[in-house]
């Protein structure tokens, strides 16, 4: 199981509390993880990545294992600690504005 932490606005929007535990089919990558997340919570479509281009929204970042994975290829394998569930995959809203 992969652990995913959403920013508070999206937890509220998807009506979830705390971490999300996801089963990801096949190789766990950013793309497959987000596919699984959106399949379970369709209201998150368009909130993390663009509907059409599937690009990460500009003011969001992906962190895990104290690394910034935001610019990793969407199909690159996630770190072992994320795939094993020992570390969470963090979706973080940029600090900006009031």
């Amino acid at each position: 199981m992969i652990r995913v932490v959403l920013p508070s606005h999206l937890r509220m929007h998807a009506n979830v509390n705390g971490e999300i535990l996801l089963d990801v089919d096949g190789e766990a990558t950013q793309r497959s993880l987000l596919d699984a997340l959106e399949a379970r919570y369709p209201v998150l479509r368009g909130t993390i990545r663009d509907h059409d281009t599937q690009k990460r929204r500009p003011f969001l970042r992906f962190f895990a294992c104290q690394r910034d994975l935001s610019h990793e290829p969407a199909d690159a394998p996630l770190p072992d600690e994320v795939r094993s569930g020992s570390k969470p995959f963090l979706i973080v809203g940029a600090i900006a504005g009031g």
Partner: protein, 371 residues
């Protein structure tokens, strides 16, 4: 009528304010969607408990929320606004072509007769429609495709379609306005559109009388007389008596004719309201005095309405979607400020009081009369 419900969109959430017909004491519900920008909420005239809300965020994009119980509970509906076909380009601030990019929904206009049919005005300017209660949205392509779209340019607030007026007499006629393109009309249900900007004069564009390029801030219409339109332009308050075919200025004795809102009394089609703002550089009232100005003659002759409004040290703005009128026997008038106050008058503007004072900056105000 048993009461009124005021729907307030703010920079950090939505609020629902309710009162009985006296409009003296108010219950405040909210914030709904705390932390999100709520550009606009509006209820269906055909089913007042059906309310749609535009919820957006620079981080997380656009959402549309729908309530079927008068704003007590909400559920998200479809949030995908895809332009029809190849989106093409409009002018960017530097005059270069810029691809159309969806940013947010500015205005929601439910059908007059069907709760499941709703129009949405978006940035970058386009008109969308749902006919299934928000489960899916499709662009009304004739507007951007009518020919001048490539020449539209954003105003400082973005290139937004912010006003949608549905003609209650002719269901195929609709008016919209875009900053900074101007006003447009369809007579065939959205298939084809024409610019209706003749008579507008805007010194801030190369040809002040151009067919498009005018920064129209707001249009208003009385439902009994849909051929008469009122406009608050960037500068100038304008009037048309022929459904927008031509416009003439009715700013008259206003202390400044810059502003954002304009609205029409619910029972007196010649009584109109504006909130004069000092200038395009100084978005606050003249001399720190918040004043609604009312004309009972359809323009030109205006009177200041000040009773109950701050008359010193007030430097708020009133944004374009932040004024509304109710249809009770004595028409109520409402407006919200960027300082978080929502003011109401239960006597057509003669006296005012604040329903709430300390909300986040108010982006929009709508009101429903409840039976």
């Amino acid at each position: 009528m048993t009461g009124v419900r005021v729907l307030v969109g703010t920079r950090k959430g939505a609020f629902v304010l309710t009162s009985d017909g006296t409009r003296k004491s108010w219950d405040v519900s909210g914030p709904h969607f705390p932390g999100w920008e709520i550009y606009h909420l509006k209820g269906s005239p055909a089913d007042p408990n059906r309310i749609y809300a535009s919820q957006s965020s620079g981080w997380f994009g656009q959402q549309i929320q729908r309530s079927d119980d008068g704003g007590k509970t909400w559920a998200p509906v479809d949030n995908k606004f895809a332009y029809d076909g190849v989106p093409g380009t409009h002018q960017w601030y530097d005059g270069t072509p810029h691809p159309w990019e969806f940013k947010r929904v500015w205005h929601i206009e439910p059908s007059l007769t069907d709760p499941d049919t709703v129009f949405a005005g978006v940035e970058d300017a386009a008109l969308f429609r749902t006919s299934d209660g928000g489960k899916s949205w499709a662009e009304v392509p004739g507007l951007r495709g009518h020919g001048s779209g490539a020449h539209w340019m954003p105003g400082a607030g973005g290139m937004c379609l912010h006003t949608i007026l549905l003609d209650p007499v002719d269901p195929k006629r609709m008016f919209i306005a875009i900053s900074a393109a101007g006003a447009f009309r369809t007579d065939d249900g959205g298939e084809t559109w024409q610019p209706i900007n003749k008579g507008l004069r805007s010194e801030y564009i190369p040809d002040p009388h151009a067919e498009v390029g005018h920064c129209v801030h707001r249009l208003a219409m009385h439902p009994s007389r849909p051929n008469v339109l009122f406009m608050q332009k960037h500068w100038d308050v304008m009037r048309s008596d022929d459904a927008g075919n031509s416009w003439h200025e009715v700013s008259g004795n206003l202390p400044t004719d810059f502003g954002f809102v304009i609205d029409v009394h619910a029972h007196e089609p010649e009584t109109i309201y504006v909130v004069p703002i000092k200038s395009d550089a100084e978005h606050f009232p003249m001399d720190g005095k918040l004043q609604v100005w009312r004309s009972r003659s359809g323009g030109n002759e205006w009177e200041a309405l000040t009773k109950g409004l701050p008359q010193s040290n007030c430097y708020v703005n009133v944004l374009r979607d932040a004024m509304a009128v109710d249809t009770l026997d004595t028409c109520g008038v409402y407006f919200g400020t960027t300082g978080g106050q929502v003011y109401a008058s239960a006597d057509a503007g003669d006296t005012w009081s604040a329903i709430v004072r300390d909300l986040p900056a108010v982006l929009s105000v709508e009101v429903q009369a409840l039976k």
